[in-house]
Symmetry: C2
Subunit: 370 residues, 2 copies
């Protein structure tokens, strides 16, 4: 995998780039839809690609538990199993062990936990999760890390960071011996800019092919998030891609692009779609609202996606009111098309040195309806 | 609407036909997928057409209650509202009043009931349901009828038949004055062949553009069903299309085609799909079964549909196990493609005077896996 900075914004860390993978190119900044269980919920791979997605995210934790990596390996890997031909980044499961697993015990060697599905006992080690992702056939592999919630004490952040760094060394060694795809490093370190900077510097010293910033979007205020992102980016090599994990709400994403972030993933656009929430250029609307009952305008009048070209708010509202599966499905498609278009515009603005101006306009408009 | 018998089977009532509607032709025998709530569950109209469906069914009872016929009329009718450009047959709601509504009171003028959604009081009359279907813009309109369960007494059947006939006269008069599309008559009469024959003769005397047989598929044995169908068909004019309402399981459907039925609708193929049941030429399989966990063969090896060409039983099984919406969606698509292919083959066999032989083979094979 090669990463190329196509255009560096003058006077800021923002840039347009291009990631060359063996499964195709990814123009950055890019948003990766979340396909946790080897499916972007409700959509086919063709539809996901149609919305402008170039790379998707899947989850080693979930796929390890169900259907199991052997099944996926026998099917020829995750790409063949689910029918997505573009690149796939897999999360290691560090975050899910922290947020979903029961009876989690972290020790220096790894983490033991019980399955949230059936309570069965399992153990993840840095080496083990590299192996799982090899069985999945991931294009971008994430190492096992230790995640914290917000808020929490500074001592916890340092401990999590140190553990994440020790595991990063082991992951890197194991991946060099037996891994497939490329391995990113994960920068933890909480919200203290100095600690984040230290985590970024020490992770960068291990020379990964790309860098993920973990532990964001856990409830922290925007300024706190941005300050920590800035502190990390300063310490990361400009020639490598930077990825903020789990970030995908419009304002935070655009602000992070301004600070030099290249990759994003987030379940938000697809998750809120299933409750009737549509992302539009003027902010979010909930199409289940009674005021849309007879509204014959498209879901998002500024969107040219297949759903907005063919349906109305009244029809979508009816589908949600009648609890019809087609409602979540069409809303999911639109929200991913919204993200696809947003990032496409962001890339154009970056290539034409007008990102800051474009972003200010997009943010002002997005806030107008909230 | 014109109906043309393209090929009459020698020595049986079976035939291949063609229904000319203002929204396109329907080759018969044809299966109509059920789109009760103005959506064939989980699929887009494009996909429904892709499976081989030429006409769909929607339901006046459900759409009257939600979103309401005014909303649909304002959207330009049901076709525009849901985006289906082919013909639509709407059921009047007689069956739903019988099966779903609460506190149903039938009198000579109509039927009063309470909404199963919110308990609100409503009244259907023969004239009212023609008006609702005009607001929906139905291509084929069904009159209000009185339905019975199985078993029940012969007195009840006669009473329901007489009421249905009285309402048929009123429906016909009202439709002639102010209806759109074409109106079919509904033949009731239960499972006594003599009563069915009488119902068919008296309904035919009213000269409808087509004839539906109601009250089937309510739990009766196959022979009982077939005998009553035969009794009715004998009394119906060969130049008009014949439709058995609610019939769609493979063996019964093929046997009914052999007895001269042209149109079918049934929720079964889409309903069972949502529980993981796939229709195949060798019978039904439930893809949630543990034996499919590592099965990399297509859902139905004899099917060339888009789902069977691209996915495996293992992947479908995983989607159902993980409660992923894509599972019901893909299974629904396959099951409708199965019905589309089955009816396409039936039509070919009829046009080539080999229906009986083809049907015996299909039935033997379908039963092989049960």
């Amino acid at each position: 995998m090669d990463f190329e900075v196509v255009r560096q914004a003058p006077g800021s860390a923002a840039r347009a780039g291009r990631l060359h993978t063996s499964r195709g190119e990814v123009e950055t900044p890019a948003f990766m839809p979340v396909g946790t269980n080897a499916t972007v919920k409700a959509l086919t791979p063709d539809e996901v690609a149609e919305t402008g997605a170039q790379m998707i995210l899947a989850n080693a934790f979930h796929l390890y538990l169900r259907p199991g990596p052997e099944i996926i390996a026998r099917a020829g890997g995750l790409h063949a199993f689910m029918g997505w031909t573009g690149p796939i980044l897999t999360d290691s499961g560090g975050y899910q062990v922290y947020s979903l697993a029961k009876m989690r015990i972290v020790d220096d060697e790894g983490v033991s936990f019980r399955s949230p599905i059936d309570g069965s006992p399992h153990r993840f080690t840095p080496e083990g999760v590299v192996d799982i992702q090899r069985q999945l056939g991931s294009d971008i592999v994430m190492p096992l890390d230790v995640c914290m919630g917000y808020p929490h004490g500074p001592g916890e952040d340092r401990a999590a960071m140190e553990q994440t760094l020790r595991w990063a060394v082991r992951s890197r060694e194991h991946h060099a011996r037996s891994g497939t795809g490329v391995l990113f490093g994960i920068v933890q370190g909480g919200f203290d800019p100095a600690l984040r900077a230290e985590a970024a510097r020490r992770t960068a010293a291990l020379e990964f092919q790309g860098y993920a910033l973990g532990g964001f979007s856990v409830g922290e205020p925007r300024e706190v998030m941005m300050e920590a992102i800035e502190a990390a980016v300063t310490e990361l090599p400009p020639a490598r891609p930077r990825y903020v994990m789990g970030l995908g709400d419009t304002p935070n994403l655009l602000e992070a692009v301004a600070r030099g972030i290249d990759l994003f993933d987030c379940a938000l656009p697809t998750r809120v779609a299933r409750t009737g929430v549509l992302l539009t250029r003027s902010g979010r609307i909930n199409v289940r609202n009674a005021r849309f009952r007879g509204d014959l305008s498209p879901p998002d009048p500024d969107c040219a996606c297949r759903v907005c070209a063919r349906t109305t708010r009244a029809y979508l509202r009816h589908l949600f009111a009648a609890d019809e599966m087609l409602g979540p499905r069409l809303a999911t498609y639109h929200n991913l098309a919204f993200m696809g278009n947003l990032l496409r515009e962001a890339r154009s603005a970056l290539r034409e040195d007008r990102y800051e101006h474009w972003m200010r306009g997009a943010l002002a408009r997005y806030a107008s309806q909230w």
